[in-house]
Point group: C2
Chain length 413, copies 2
């Protein structure tokens, strides 16, 4: 496993303020890792609303099923997250563990079972002992503090090389509210591990319906626009919580997603999701370069997304970026294989600001030396214009390096 | 680039007999490689029928377009193949080159232009000078010989580590006929290269319609069932030729694909396609292990194929195989992400004969030591039973090694 921090990590850590209505606690539960925190709880004030989106895997983990069951209630009082064991493909034992954990959490928080949300990240197929949770939850609820965001981001890491946090303060109806977020993992980022997890909390007074609408609106262009290795986890979970505590400072309750007072908040919320998502790519296994793939001129946005993901997932494009090789022929290949409407003779491709190909052939005056120089950067922009319509999409990925193979293939040798 | 022969290469070369009605020639045209053959022609007797399937890329190479234009005629007299330059994404220049080449080949073979078929494999985006063909084709047609199959398989290699050939002799209406095939390349197998090419020739008297039906029937479970890196080339071409020369020895002309006299031939033909296709995987970039992925119990064969390809294309499954790691959790992940009907709690997974998971959890009595021992083999069988229906499919892939990344990312450093 890699020990060094990703070279693409943010240079500074954000100063994470408390979110009124949220308290946090972490513990060393010893689920898999020795001598580090691996258990996180977030407690929410009564009345906190919740929204979520989950993996589309047909083999979801037991905690994902619990969250799906509880989400229609729209209320959350406690989130419990562990690292080191995904409780995925664990059969009846896995469901027994989530049932015991939900009961213990509800007792600790003094709430109904449907107000408990769970996530687990780590090994697939290994039974997870519910005693880890029963032992700690009561004490964690009793000692939770509002200032634990950095510790929270650390406790959910598996082989992440840096803790992922974001914060924004934004006005809603003239009152400042806070949006905090944490995330971990990149696709199935690590040996035997599975999970992308992200949590966003705000003190804005938003209904569960508004919160879900915001998630649905922005997840497609943020978390669903990133890829490290095209391998979708069994446990992907993005949950958003709104405590409503800012109502006490005069913030208006928002129950209509079209409410104009929501506009600035929605933008900050989308911004948080995007930043958390791109941080996951910055910590992709073995990543040395961040790659932004923009497709314009497709027949529709959906078509542009499929083409962008075809480029972003192409092993040959990703190895070329790793080799600092301006190999635009592989971008042509990846556009061509996407199965979407495209016309070879209208296609144009840029690396950064450099036009490398247009009208079905290498661009006039293309300089290999100039393009190769560009490829040395840490952050690479690839743009393809399809020349057919107005559809556009931006995806983020990283390069494919020998370290990726080493991390995922060598760890037993 | 790798120099060593793939450890998965066949241990013996087949003895390639002539195909009556086919003569071959190769030349060192110096298109890209120094001091090796890079140009192949096959000449066919008048009356030879032809069928073909091509890349579904929206950015196909110029030679693919030529083949598509000529195929409706159903007749072939000459095939021209070069290695070192794919004539792909070369715009008007590319089309001018194929036009000049077709004209030169038709003059050399003394036939109509629609009886000429072309393929090019190599760099994308580099103009291909038609003089390479004009200089050689007349002489190649004049000196072609029936016994040139091994040389032919070598002339079309790019970074292949071994020449790929197959032969079968099979009876059709009581008369023995020959089926010979050659292929090259694995997806986009090499730096800047693009192309999977395969050619099959027989002296059986088959109509073009019968030949096309056979290709359409078998390509899905052979060439379209293999993957090295999920990157579809701009130039994939599979052409089949039937000279009909065996009619002179009493073989019946077959014009109906349901003709019962075709049965044994069809089986041998399918066998040739499968063997050529699997040889392409055996020579996949950096491949150290051949992996057969079989999905049974899916809702339909089409669904089984999508699940099998999701497993076969998963970087995490492929790196686990490279690491000789019996990581069945990644197979669960890949089944789950395929987007096909699946029920986690009915899923069963085998590595070889070892049941590793069933009914949604690790199998009773599963031995990690036994499974790890199995993973040391050169050829790995992964089987997943979905438990929903009768759909099944088998795909072939190889492991994902650091050599793959080195071959595709390091070659400029």
């Amino acid at each position: 496993m890699t020990e060094a921090i990703s070279p693409l990590a943010p240079k500074t850590l954000p100063d994470m303020p408390p979110v009124p209505g949220v308290t946090l606690a972490t513990r060393k539960a010893g689920i898999k890792y020795a001598d580090r925190t691996d258990l996180l709880t977030m407690l929410f004030e009564p009345g906190t609303t919740v929204a979520g989106v989950f993996t589309r895997s047909r083999c979801p983990s037991a905690p994902v099923e619990t969250c799906r069951d509880h989400l229609p209630g729209g209320r959350a009082r406690m989130l419990v997250v562990n690292a080191g064991n995904a409780n995925a493909f664990t059969g009846k034992k896995g469901r027994a563990t989530t049932a015991v954990t939900v009961k213990a959490a509800a007792a600790a928080a003094g709430c109904g079972e449907s107000e408990i949300f769970l996530s687990s990240t780590g090994v697939i197929g290994e039974p997870l002992d519910p005693a880890h949770f029963e032992r700690h939850l009561l004490d964690m609820a009793a000692t939770a503090r509002p200032d634990g965001w950095v510790d929270a981001a650390r406790a959910i890491m598996t082989t992440d090389t840096f803790a992922k946090m974001v914060t924004r303060t934004v006005s809603i109806g003239g009152v400042d509210v806070v949006v905090n977020g944490i995330s971990k993992g990149a696709g199935m980022i690590a040996p035997d591990m599975a999970t992308m997890l992200a949590y966003v909390a705000t003190d804005a007074p938003l209904s569960a319906g508004v919160l879900q609408q915001l998630l649905d609106r922005y997840v497609g262009t943020t978390f669903n626009a990133i890829t490290v290795d095209s391998d979708t986890s069994t446990s992907d979970t993005l949950l958003a919580f709104a405590t409503g505590a800012a109502a006490g400072r005069g913030a208006p309750a928002i129950a209509d997603p079209e409410d104009p007072r929501l506009a600035a908040f929605a933008e900050a919320f989308a911004d948080c999701l995007r930043e958390l998502a791109v941080m996951v790519v910055r910590d992709g296994e073995g990543a040395r370069k961040l790659v932004r793939v923009t497709v314009t001129g497709a027949e529709s946005d959906a078509s542009a997304k499929r083409i962008a993901m075809s480029v972003a997932n192409s092993p040959l494009v990703k190895t070329a970026v790793a080799g600092e090789d301006a190999n635009w022929g592989r971008v042509v290949m990846a556009v061509g294989k996407a199965g979407e409407p495209a016309d070879r003779d209208r296609l144009a491709i840029w690396f950064g600001d450099i036009l490398v190909a247009s009208e079905g052939e290498r661009a006039e005056g293309y300089s290999e030396a100039q393009a190769s120089e560009y490829m040395k950067a840490d952050e690479i922009d690839i743009r393809a214009d399809i020349g057919l319509g107005d559809g556009c999409f931006t995806a983020w990925t990283c390069d494919l390096t020998k370290e990726y193979v080493a991390i995922n293939g060598d760890y037993r040798s």
